[in-house]
């Protein structure tokens, strides 16, 4: 029994590593059992899993909703004007080549 416990018992570093793997979908069955066993008894690793999942979901949410852009995340008019100039120059170059 003691030996079985030793095999089953991961430390927190190993458990959070498997949590990371599971979040990306590539965990083996035995890894999953060990991870779940650890999570059952460790509230810190349970919190790690919950909070990491939450952050990933919010990153995806931000990627999908451009309106979640930040106040400082704005293209300034002066930068746009410069972009326009460069674009025009490229267009001119292109038409001269043709």
């Amino acid at each position: 029994m003691k030996k079985l416990m030793q095999i089953m018992m991961l430390n927190c570093e190993q458990a959070t590593f498997l949590v990371t793997k599971e979040m990306s979908g590539t965990i083996t069955f035995s890894e999953k059992i060990k991870m779940q066993f650890h999570l059952l008894v460790c509230k810190y690793c349970r919190l790690f899993k919950k909070q990491s999942t939450f952050l990933s979901e919010n990153i995806n949410h931000q990627h999908q909703h451009s309106d979640k852009c930040l106040p400082d995340c704005k293209l300034e008019d002066s930068r746009k004007a410069r972009m326009q100039e460069i674009l025009q120059a490229e267009l001119k170059k292109g038409s001269e080549e043709n």
């Binding site: 959070t16 590593f17 990371t20 590539t26 990933s56 919010n58 990627h63 400082d72 995340c73 292109g94």
Partner: protein, 203 residues
């Protein structure tokens, strides 16, 4: 009427000289959410337009012009991270990483591998089921992502970008799969810790 429906099913094509006006804001936001640095995002958008001019004959109107430009930008973002990843000389060995030491888990004694006391995850006053709508949250999130070592940010962002799996990322960034998992693990630990300290302020 028949003419109208044909017209609607085709995607319109604008003049390149209108692109900045039509698409620069959208593309900038897309890039910023993935590179977390304003100047880099600006340059990537500009490069996208320049490449698009050269490739504009390849646009086949199967998709919208915006989708087409976004796919060019996406490749620019991948290239940016590829370059960063090969330039960065940070060692990513599991334990002997002096620049990014293991500060989350005990490294010796009977508690080896257990959370260090001040690194233990604590309570977050949030509803885990719904995404945060506060803009300030995303400001902090971006700062925390920006704080990741460059190679970690590369792996982490590419993973979060659509259509990428672990194998492809390893190939693109030329890293081994064991290093990939070490980086993902460390990135998640650091990001969670950073958000805890700067947004949730653990109780």
């Amino acid at each position: 009427m028949a003419n109208l429906s044909t017209h609607n099913s085709q995607h319109t094509k604008s003049e390149p000289s209108q692109w900045v006006e039509l698409y620069s804001d959208y593309l900038f936001v897309y890039a910023f959410a993935r590179v977390h640095k304003k100047e880099v995002a600006e340059d990537l958008v500009q490069d996208t337009f320049v490449s698009a001019i050269k490739a504009k004959d390849s646009f086949q109107q199967k998709s919208t012009e915006r989708t087409w430009l976004t796919s060019i930008l996406k490749n620019k973002i991948i290239d940016y991270y590829k370059k960063k990843s090969t330039q960065s000389e940070i060692s990513i060995g599991a334990d002997e990483d002096s620049e990014n030491p293991n500060t989350f888990f005990e490294t010796e004694g009977s508690r080896q591998g257990m959370w260090q006391v001040d690194a233990r995850p604590g309570f977050w006053d949030t509803d885990y089921k719904t995404p945060v709508e506060k803009i300030e949250f995303y400001t902090i999130l971006n700062q925390c992502l920006e704080n990741l070592p460059e190679q970690w940010a590369a792996v982490f962002t590419l993973k979060n970008m659509e259509d990428f799996d672990a194998q492809e990322i390893c190939k693109e960034l030329n890293i081994s799969s064991s290093n990939y998992w070490v980086i993902m693990h460390r990135s998640k630990l650091q990001l969670r810790d950073c958000m805890s300290k700067n947004w949730f302020i653990e109780k």
